[in-house]
Amino acid sequence: MADTGFIPKEKWGAFIEGLSTKAQVYVPCLEGDTVLFRPFGKEKTLCFERPANSPPKSVIFPQSDTLFSFTFIKDPDNPQKTEVELKEHLDFPKTIVIGSRPCDAKGFTVYDRPYTETDTPDPYYKGRREKTTIVTMTCNSPSAGCFCTAVGGSPADKEGSDALITEVEKGYFIEALTEKGKEILQGPGVEDGKAYQGDATKKQEAVHSMVKNPFGPKGLGKVSPELFDNDEFWDNAVSKCVSCGACTYLCPTCYCFNITDEQTSDKGERIRTWDGCMYVHFTLEASGHNPRPTKFQRFKNRVGHKFSFYPEKYNGVIACCGCGRCIRYCPMSVDISEIVSNLQGA
């Protein structure tokens, strides 16, 4: 049995505040009608009632990240001679994310395979990942577009989390899942959780059956190679797509980036910023040739990466956590689960 704890509702605020004295704490905050992860502050309106509009991916994989800064220094005695001074940015603070959803946490495991579980780990991602504790909140109900259970997840999935919190009648039941998660149990106001384990389990199971399964009772079948390579299928499926990047930027499993040097006069930074395969520039080559000039080719890549190429490379793991954000927030209500469903072979 993993270590457990319980926080009464009235001590919940103090618990988060207490953690924020020991680490940088990110929590879902309400701004207008939008919920997004922000550094904790007493003035913030916390919102755990529904999943945030954007996942907490930027905490570990920032939208723009300075890899290093550079300065060109001229030798005053020999102005022809210029030296470049580099400064690395590899200092990452201890961080706790509270209130991510199981789909959000699972998203980080999708990043881990290419970014840390390789011979050439990414120091920026790895550095932040190791310093970050993911405290996930079990979902009380599914949201529009959610389909986590159809892609191997669940509203109480533990994968990728360091601790799982389930709201029960009088408070929050915490289950520590890793050593980092156990540290959370040392937070202020945490009581013994044993008595609440049963209630929490019941709650978790109840939500599970409420999540829709777009792939039918047999679950997700094999993608039909004939359909996947049929241009007409894609053209019809995404004629309504406007080729913006909302789906990729809100996706907890999309991890593509661009690297640019942003320079003014003699100083600059090499930055890594999110990029998305839905943009025409994503595959634009220096020669001017673009191997994916049409939106259907780009959309095909997005679906292919999540449901075909990634699973082929990583033991069948689907690179979609079913959070439903790409469906919920798509300007044209393009539904990836419907497209994948239609792609299944007979």
């Binding site: 009608d33 920032p62 577009g145 019809n236 913006c244 300007p331 044209m332 209500s333």
Partner: protein
């Protein structure tokens, strides 16, 4: 108004065009999604109700090579007029199926009213009431309470251009002087207040470009200055000044061109009220040039013309 008349019209129109763009139900009853109809059997899927929010006219410039039928509401029809003014479509290759509209829903507003519960059913009653069913129960809403702001001041409920009309025309009962009331009110705030407001709003921007790509008049699309390295006006950094710059460019490119369909604001996944900026510029264009975009096909957008001395611009005072 039901979709039956519209289905009849589309059945006819389809005989003469390559594709008709209409609406069908999306992933739940609160969401419609555009459908591209090229076979008669697809016509049964067509819906028309206040969830049909998208501006379908936006697809027209990208389908220039084809003959296209398109379903438009009053607000969306201004897009077609603006395209005509700017030479972006060949009107003879577009068949416009107009719908006199009594208002649509703002999905964000409905979801807020039902605490973001998953939608099980949505029923529109004849008296304008909306019944929204969620696992938490049934909520009765009035369309006026959950309509986007644009509906509350709509002057063009009946399309300004059409070839077929799916119902009897509706006359607007809204006062023209109310259209820019929100802009005037906001302008009453101090510069500092306005700055704080926009900084807070733009801080949420994730530069996904949904506002740009859903905008019917953002015709630069793949050549947008926001992603260009040459010229390099905006860096790829995700900071406030870059986000601010992008939105200013977006707005200014739309001065005297924005048809106020509100798509930019509707599609923003971060809930940023970006339409307000475009309205502000349109308000100025109206004051300076007495021009209203997307109303009369014969008009010339002010930025497409040049007079050495503009009547209402006193250059020496600039």
């Amino acid at each position: 108004m039901g979709p039956e008349k519209m289905k009849e019209i589309i059945t006819d129109v389809l005989k003469d065009v390559d594709v008709v763009i209409g609406y069908k139900q999306g992933f739940d009853k609160l969401h419609a999604t555009p459908c591209f109809i090229n076979k008669a059997e697809q016509i049964e899927e067509i819906i028309w109700s206040p969830v049909c929010v998208q501006n379908l006219a936006s697809f027209l410039p990208s389908l220039k090579a084809k003959k296209v039928g398109v379903v438009v509401k009053g607000c969306d029809s201004r897009t077609i007029v603006q395209y005509m003014q700017e030479g972006l479509i060949d009107r003879s290759k577009v068949v416009v199926v107009g719908i006199p509209c009594t208002g649509v829903v703002s999905v964000k507003k409905v979801l807020d009213k039902v605490n973001h519960q998953p939608i099980e059913d949505v029923v529109f009653e004849a008296d304008g009431a909306i019944l929204v069913k969620t696992p938490a129960g049934e909520t009765k809403l009035s369309l006026a309470d959950v309509s986007p702001d644009k509906c509350s001041t709509c002057l063009y409920p009946t399309p300004v251009v059409y070839d077929h009309l799916a119902a009897e025309p509706i006359k607007s009962v809204k006062a023209p002087e109310d259209v820019y009331k929100d802009v005037e009110e906001f302008e009453g705030k101090s510069l500092e207040e306005r700055k704080v407001y926009w900084e807070k709003e733009f801080d949420r921007c994730i530069r996904c470009y949904a506002c740009r790509n859903a905008c019917p008049m953002c015709v630069c699309q793949d050549s947008c200055i926001a992603e260009s390295r040459d010229p390099h006006w905006i860096s790829q950094k995700s900071n406030l000044s870059e986000k601010f710059m992008f939105h200013m460019i977006h707005s200014i490119h739309l001065a005297g061109r924005c048809v106020e369909c509100g798509e930019c604001e509707r599609v923003c996944p971060m809930g940023i009220p970006v339409n307000a900026l475009k309205k502000k510029l349109n308000h100025d264009m109206k004051a300076l040039y007495n021009y209203e975009p997307g109303v009369n096909p014969e008009d010339k957008p002010p930025m497409y013309t040049f007079s050495v001395e503009e009547k209402k611009i006193e250059e020496h005072k600039l």
